[in-house]
Amino acid sequence: MDINKLNELKQRAFNVREHIIRMSTDGGCFIGASLSCADLIVYLYDSYLNVTKDTLKDPNRDYFFLSKGHDVPALYGTFAEIGWIEKDRLKNHLKPNDFIYWHPNRNIPGIEFHSGSLGHLLSVAIGVALDCKMRKQTNKVVVVLGDGELNEGTIWEGALVAAAKKLDNLVAVVDRNQFQANIRTEELIPLESIEKKFEAFGWTAHRVGGHDFEAMDNTFRSVKLDEGKPNVVIADTVRGKGLPSIEARADRWFVNFKHDEIDMLLKELHGEEAAKLTSETIVAR
């Protein structure tokens, strides 16, 4: 990846993080997961997915499904930055005049399908991947899963079916931020080794740093889409990435910050002083 592209992606992800922070007030959002997958989503839409604003209805486009729907602010932030939706529209977050809320829905251009209930979109992606194969198309289907979402039985049902149907056009990406809602995954339902689990189900597994654009570029470009096996990329990420005051914390999953905290968090993102957060943490939702 050349230095200009790298800088461009870093800047875009930075802007997306600003959008996410601004959406974490006046009702709030799931900031931790949104920040963990921001780099991943920026990368995928820039360099991996063969889809543009003009090809959103083209049956030959690549498909992207966000199965862990609660991190949709990262997706909306990315859409705003690449010009699929107006940046101003993000101000409609949780407003009755729009459809920008805590989970994705098809009223927003670029959203292929709604999600929110975990463990659904792997199977939906399987249906799309099956159809692409049936029609002898070479487009790929990418689905982002949460690591906590791997608790759901339907992920493993889908893992069996995808391998049985030899869906090598399917790429599952796990946002491995180490947390499920309120607790570290390994403390509750240990997931490792995720690679070995998927490999045992007949998938090809990759693992990469999910905040390292160059590493992601190398890994995603090495994914084989014609060898008869579905693919999984486990992206190691940090919950709350970019904001040290909330990074890797179990209690900053869903947040609804006060306006002055938003200002402080934006400064913190810019590397100025650390935010002094006063709003209570919301652990359970």
Binding site: P59, R106, E112, F113, H114, G116, S117, G119, H120, L121, L122, S123, V124, A125, I126, G127, V128, A129, L130, D131, C132, M134, G153, T154, E157, G158, L160, V161, A164, K165
Partner: protein, 298 residues
Amino acid sequence: MTYEEILKKLVDEDERFIVMTAENRAAIRNLPNQIGDRFIDTGITEQTLVGSAAGLALRGRIPVIHALATFLTMRAFEFIRTDVGIGNLPVKIVGGFSGFMSDGNGATHQSLEDVSLMRGIPNVNVWCPADEEDMLIGLETVLKSESPFYIRYNNTKPSVSHNKNFEIGKAEVISEGNDVAILVYGFLLGEAVKAKEILEAQGKSVRLINLRTVKPIDEEVILKAAKECKMILTLEDHFLTGGLYSIIAEIFLRNQITAKVVPVAMDNKWFKPVIGQDLLEYEGFTGKQIAEKILKNL
């Protein structure tokens, strides 16, 4: 044409149709060899069956998916509600061995709440054909409709010759009469016909209504029956709660009318897992028992 032949025809004529199952091939045994990759078996995975059908529908397909009614509508309920229902995708959900048709399987396999569950999902319609002939008359119309549909698959032998005009939301009025209106969906129509014969032999007139689609339901026919008949009997191999009896109550309340309604349904219990006539007899669903119930209430 048989059920399978109609599916085969639709697959041949229309590239949208895909036949799927979660490894329950009872209704479609001959199709895998005939339709190639347009047949997809996902294994014993009702949820992935429904989710992947939604994915196929997103690509413009009309998946016709098959599994046991109980497991399809209950194990995969949230997938039907969330992916098919919210998505308003034209997935056709075919439940086999529904209601009393599960015979000796026991309560684990008895789908006596499937109609209730499916009709409660916005966008999802429900069709319960009375027998094989009734099913084959309506099949193409239902499968080609734009909306998601739950279908209570029914290949039982017909007890009447059905009206060939099928319309979604229109009931089939089999006979006119004013003493009692029997409202029925599904395979109990056969017992309703027997009840009608017994009653007519005793000089009673019976309005027999095969509802066909339970959602949308033919409200006009029902309101007319309420107005013109001395009593209504609802007949269903379903729990009393949430099925036809509830639907009638909702219609009457919405229209601010009342009528004498006697239900024959499974009241807060599962049925004795025995076969055929023994089951109907044990649970009180034979034509004779139904006729007696009506006479007692008239």
